[in-house]
């Protein structure tokens, strides 16, 4: 950390010594303008969704809401957070799976990445290929279901954690990062008698904070947003429902792909199942909020930069 700061400062000093070229200045202005424009285009629909989520339902259907709600209402949030059956259980399970799932997955991916990034490892290519294949070849929904059923993973919490624990994609990203760490560090440690595991825990891991943070974010978001597995494996086990599955039931009721079901059979009791746009907007915001809250903590690691310890190549 301190080293990095010192380096940053010395870097800045050098830059300040040099007169800032006009080319640089123009670039800065355009870059800033461009990024602001980018942010506006990105942010507007999100703010619009936020405004709609705070608007009264029947009023919002008429459209014409931009950055501020026209008829203020908490109803939508009340409806999704307090009136949905199963929302509390779902929230509990989602938090639990996000924590347990992220930690186990991070550990499992990191260890495998470490092995695959050892340049001297004997089965490097074989093991890589073995995992690369898993990214593209899938047995499909039904065989997986049958397998899980016989492993007694259906109707359980562990179906969220165990099967997806190792992800080849994340492993490849981590491995690439680890390959960038100079071998000299490892060699130095090994000379002092450290074994592979010791190197992993005390040399590699501290240097991999940015990539760990990235992968942790990916995995956490995956767990936070998952709903399909909850439906597929625990459809009739409300005690294992997830937050997003409960919200998805709301989001999806409009785009129901029911096919050509007889219309004549629809009655008031069955037809009135359309979820107001406002409730859908509220559900989207609720999905986003915790991740937005989490991100700044992880973002720290992205801007820290990699300190190359005491060794320089």
């Amino acid at each position: 950390m301190i080293m990095a700061d010192i380096q940053q400062i010395s870097l800045d000093k050098i830059k300040h010594k040099k007169k800032m070229a006009t080319e640089d200045l123009i670039f800065m202005i355009f870059n800033t303008l461009f990024l602001v424009l980018f942010a506006v285009v990105t942010l507007y629909p999100v703010l619009n969704t936020l405004a709609i989520s705070f608007n009264e339902g029947n009023d919002a259907v008429r459209g014409g809401i931009y950055l501020l709600p026209r008829k203020w209402s908490w109803r939508n949030y009340e409806e999704i957070l307090f009136e949905r059956p199963g929302i509390r259980v779902g929230a509990k399970i989602t938090v639990l799976r996000t924590i347990v799932g992220t930690l186990t997955s991070l550990a499992a991916n990191a260890l495998l990445s470490y092995i695959l990034s050892r340049k001297k490892f004997l089965f490097k290519s074989g093991l890589s290929l073995f995992w690369v294949i898993t990214m593209y070849a899938s047995g499909g929904m039904i065989p997986v279901l049958i397998l899980f059923r016989y492993l007694h993973l259906t109707s359980s919490f562990w179906v969220y954690v165990i099967p997806g624990m190792v992800s080849a994609f994340n492993v490849m990203v981590m491995r690439t990062y680890m390959l960038g760490i100079p071998d000299s560090l490892e060699e130095a440690a090994q000379l002092e008698g450290a074994g592979y595991m010791r190197v992993f825990v005390s040399i590699i891991t501290p240097l991999c904070k940015p990539v760990y943070a990235t992968i942790a974010l990916f995995v956490a978001v995956y767990h936070w947003n998952s709903w399909f597995d909850a439906m597929l494996y625990n459809r009739f086990d409300p005690q294992y429902t997830t937050l997003q599955y409960e919200l998805m039931k709301l989001l999806d009721s409009v785009s129901a792909t029911t096919g050509a079901t007889s219309g004549a059979s629809m009655t008031a009791a069955t037809a009135n199942t359309i979820t107001p746009v406002t409730v859908r907007a509220a559900a989207s915001i609720a999905t986003m909020a915790p991740i937005i809250a989490l991100y700044p903590f992880l973002q720290r690691y992205f801007v820290t930069g990699l300190t190359i310890g005491g060794v320089k190549e």
Binding site: P85, Y245, D252, G259, S265
Partner: protein, 587 residues
């Protein structure tokens, strides 16, 4: 060495899978154990032990709260509480497939279009024995009707629960298709008689010119039309009705040669079809049709209708009306600062039974029940106590429980006058429109057996929507005025269709909705649909109608529609033969 090991491992695992996949459904112990968790009997604090069942309906729906008021009352009376689960993020087929593969079935199921799959996989319990045991269930249909439900093994596995009237059909609404128009448009023109497309579009155009905006400044759209996915019937099947035929859905069944010699005719190639699309093309060019009609999603369509700016449309009532009730009844701010409501402004839609030529008889409305035997409520083999399940389904048809389901609790959800007539206050009606109220209070078990028509008390109707007094009370003032102006009391009377007894093959859509693509006719049907999806909006928006119409007809002919029509004809003949075996004769 290394590879050898992997190969043998894979082989070993292959064997393992194939052996356990084999017994996937042959092992009743496994399925029992899995449902045990949900189907368990749980002792509650009440005196009676209540059994919890699960139910899955392959439709979109809203879940009920766990401690729903009426659900508890029904549970006390029947000893059964049912947790309903609906379709989410999957097609019906995918859902049914994954439920089967997971080996965890609910106790009760409405498989929708996947019902036959459930039957083929031997996962449903036959109704036959229980029908004799529970007269309530047996009473739902006549023997002839029950026979229509029989599968190829001769047993009955489900019962369609909808549109089935006790005693007789008392429908106040017109649930089917029509050209709808806002009643204020009719009022503005002095309640004229509108019979043809020319008159209809002419009136829409004149009204839109004279009244281009709503009080809140929203510009009106004379006509819109939904073309999304299977709901493109809004655009495509009008020629069938315009020629005076009922809603067989997939084709016209011509009976000019006599009721016993029905002939299937394609409505996509008739002169009426060309006339209708030419009319739409002409109106599109004039700017009377919503420019986004071809690409709008269902959401956008409903949002558009909810603003009250659409004067006319062609659709089936259930597809749009329930969704716009809320917005039509909520106060809006006009540009001059006053408040107004769309229903009080006269924006509610009324149905017009248009025909190709003035003075023709038409059958937009069907006065009889329509039986759809292709899917319905079923009990699965995973249900630990099928007898209890059938007893429960039967109990749901007891009048007191039926009233609880659809009318609610007396004194809370409805009142009874001195003549025994049920009625609701304004507040009660509003409650029953509210989703949150419905989630915590009402319990329709909407995909379980139910009645329409007359109540067993002989005074009321089975469902409040059909109670004439409730129906009239529920109408906004301008709509009531419009009904009076035409001298009618219900939507059904408003559309004024010819009163006919349904033909034995009617409705043919109960066949075409479930046609699989295994046969040449099924493939043709799928291709025809794709071609029409592409070409119908194209001809409407075309700058050169004649040439595009010809290209469309050529593309359509390539789909081999005759293969489909042949199968339709065979189905009509088969249904006719079945009816004749029950003694049906052309009158």
């Amino acid at each position: 060495m290394k590879t050898k090991k992997i190969v043998s491992l894979v082989l070993a695992s292959m064997l393992a899978v194939s052996s356990f996949a084999a017994c996937s459904n042959g092992d009743p112990g496994a399925t029992d154990a899995t449902t045990g968790a949900t189907g368990d009997t749980q002792a509650t604090d009440a005196q009676k032990e209540i059994v919890d069942f699960t139910m899955f309906a392959a439709m979109a729906g809203k879940e009920k709260d766990a401690n729903n008021d009426i659900m508890e009352i029904i549970a006390q009376k029947t000893g059964v509480r049912v947790k309903e689960t609906w379709l989410t993020g999957q097609s019906a087929g995918e859902a049914i497939g994954s439920i089967i593969a997971s080996g965890k079935l609910p106790d009760l199921i409405d498989g929708g279009d996947g019902s036959v799959t459930l039957y083929e996989n031997g996962l449903l319990v036959a109704w036959d024995d229980y029908l004799e045991k529970y007269p309530n269930l047996k009473e739902m249909y006549t023997d002839e009707e029950w026979d229509k439900f029989r599968m190829d093994d001769g047993h009955i596995y489900w019962a369609n629960v909808f549109g089935n009237s006790y005693q007789y059909n008392t429908a106040t609404g017109h649930n089917g298709e029509a050209f709808w128009i806002q009643n204020r448009v009719l009022e503005w023109d002095g309640y004229p008689k509108i019979e043809t497309l020319d008159q209809y579009f002419d009136l829409l155009e004149r009204y839109a010119k004279a009244n281009p905006e709503l009080p809140d400044g929203t510009p009106v759209i004379p006509y819109t039309c939904l073309c999304e996915d299977w709901k493109y019937y809004c655009l495509e099947n009008a020629p069938m009705f315009l020629d005076g035929y009922p809603n067989d859905g997939c084709c016209i069944v011509n009976i000019d040669a006599g009721m016993d010699k029905p002939k299937v005719v394609d409505y996509n190639t008739t002169d009426t079809a060309k006339m209708y699309f030419k009319k739409l093309n002409e109106q599109y060019a004039k700017g009377n049709i919503d420019p986004d009609f071809a690409t709008q999603t269902y959401d956008e369509y409903i949002a558009k209708l909810s603003t009250g700016r659409v004067l006319g449309l062609c659709d089936q009532y259930w597809d749009f009306a329930y969704s716009i009730m809320g917005p039509f009844a909520s106060p809006l701010a006009a540009t001059d600062g006053t408040e107004f409501r769309l229903d009080e402004l006269g924006c509610d839609y009324v149905p017009l039974g248009l025909t190709a030529k003035a003075g023709m008889a038409q059958q937009w409305h069907s006065y009889d029940d329509e039986l759809n035997q292709s899917s319905g409520c079923a009990v699965t083999t995973s249900c630990k106590d099928p007898d209890l399940a059938f007893a429960f389904l039967s109990a749901l048809l007891d009048q007191d429980i039926h009233d609880l389901r659809f009318w609610g609790i007396e004194g809370v959800d409805y009142l009874v006058d001195e003549n025994g007539l049920y009625y609701r206050t304004e507040e009660m009606r509003e409650n029953w429109k509210s989703d949150s109220y419905k989630a915590k209070h009402t319990c329709e078990y909407s995909y379980c057996p139910q009645w329409m028509g007359m109540s067993k008390d002989g005074i009321n109707r089975m469902q409040p929507g059909e109670q004439p007094s409730e129906f009239i009370e529920g109408l906004a003032a301008p709509l009531r005025k419009c009904f009076e102006a035409y001298g009618v009391g219900t939507y059904a009377e408003f559309i004024g269709s010819e009163i006919v007894v349904n033909a034995p093959w009617y409705p043919l859509w109960s066949w075409s909705n479930n046609i699989s693509s295994d046969t040449p006719g099924g493939i043709a049907w799928k291709k025809m649909g794709e071609t029409k999806h592409l070409w119908l909006p194209t001809v409407v928006m075309s700058k050169d109608f004649e040439s595009d119409w010809n290209s469309y007809q050529a593309a359509y002919a390539e789909c081999d529609p005759q293969a489909f029509l042949d199968e339709a004809q065979a189905e009509v003949n088969a249904r006719l033969a079945t009816a004749q075996s029950y003694g049906w004769t052309p009158n």
